[in-house]
Amino acid sequence: MRAVVTVIGKDNVGILHKVSGICAEMGANVIEVTQSVLQDMFAMIMLIDITAMDRDFAELVDRMTNLGSELGLSIHTMHEDIFNSMHTI
């Protein structure tokens, strides 16, 4: 089972370290990281494996959201199913 963590906002030194730190703490494994600038949005997108997570997914979501608020970014943490289902026939 996988999820996608998307960080959107201004340039962010150290954010990769902080986000992957939370993942490691909660038992989520980072599979892939992409960075992109799309229509003035700077985005860092991380695909993570949550199968072995030892905590609730909701807790991960909350921690990521709070981190975003602290740093003035928006961090979305979403189960990958939503992207798969919306964009493929």
Binding site: V4, V61, I82, S85
Partner: protein
Amino acid sequence: MLNVYNILETIRMIQDECLDIRTITMGISLLDCIDTDIDKACDKVYNKIVDRAKNLVSVGQQIEKEYGIPIINKRISVTPIALLAAACPNENPVKFAKALQRAADTCGVNFIGGYSALVQKGFSAGDEALIRSIPEALAVTDNICSSVNIGSTKSGINMDAVKLMGQIVKETAERTADRDCIGAAKLVVFCNAVEDNPFMAGAFHGVGEPDCEIHVGVSGPGVVRAALSKYPDASINELADIIKKTAFKITRMGQLVGARASKLLGVPFGIVDLSLAPTPAIGDSVAHILEEMGLEQCGTHGTTACLAMLNDAVKKGGVMASSTVGGLSGAFIPVSEDAGMIDAAVAGTLSIEKLEAMTAVCSVGLDMIVVPGDIAPETISAIIADEAAIGMVNTKTTAVRLIPAIGKKEGETLEFGGLLGSGPVMPIRDKSAAKFINRGGRIPAPMHSLKN
């Protein structure tokens, strides 16, 4: 692997374009709660609803967290209460409304729909008592919605019921005149009502449905408008294609949420209703989609054509995305709940006559329309009859949710707040239809109802 574009598009739809799941609605059959002792029946009603729906709100919140999609409302629809009232003929059906209210409070849902009667061919036991109790029921409860089906393509239009409903709508507004006539905002009069609609105020759990199921009502007018705004020079059929693709994505989200809710609640998945349902929030307007298509203001000439195309393209895109599309599915045009509609009504560009034409090509009917407080009940009935005729002849669902603004006249406004928005009092014709309405009887079913 990851498609960056798709991920950012999804997030933009949710964050900037007001994409959301408008409601997850649990439909619950109360047929096994029927009892000749009304107090026992009310207990059974309360217990069954709480038993089935106690986790509805928490599951909704869990899914919101998992997928990052807002689920705005968690609601319940039940068997038309007239069927339960039929077993207790000498009692006041308002007791059922109060039981439903208690269940709504316990479960934390924001509406329970189904204080309803189906009288398209005539009145049966329980129907008239239920209907006459509606003004009181909607005045003494906050979270109960009511509906009455007065016609169908197969049955024709029950003009006795139409006459009665004109009075009931007026009385419901009068009973809640101190609260901006909010009672009338919770009452819908239908023709060709559907049994699995998840949206309020017209939701009820039809008798042909299973014991319990979960429906999803999606939305996303902002998403559609934003998609169209990227193509200012596209031809109309190219716009239709864009709408279809957008509707596909929106509906897929609804399908995903519905399937997940079904699994978590242990209840069968019912339908996805892929209606574009506006809210008064900026960027969440159906009228603005029509204006994006090229109308200077919604309500001007060309509006009916644009809406016809939009409604059809939404359905086509959505049908591919889901295994079971149902409910009303299309575009909603509730005036008080749509910022663009409100502006158009205030400016005088959008009239009741134009809205009536629009209802012939979209999902619902004359919805959340505020009319002068001194409107005659017979005029309300005549408006209901007009809408019902459109539905009956065109084999589609139509409905009327009119709000007589007691004590107010054209030019003034009613403020409901929240998702129900605010509405300018719209002008109506002053010549009377009282003689026609007072005849009573039935408008016979049209020729094409004889399809066998």
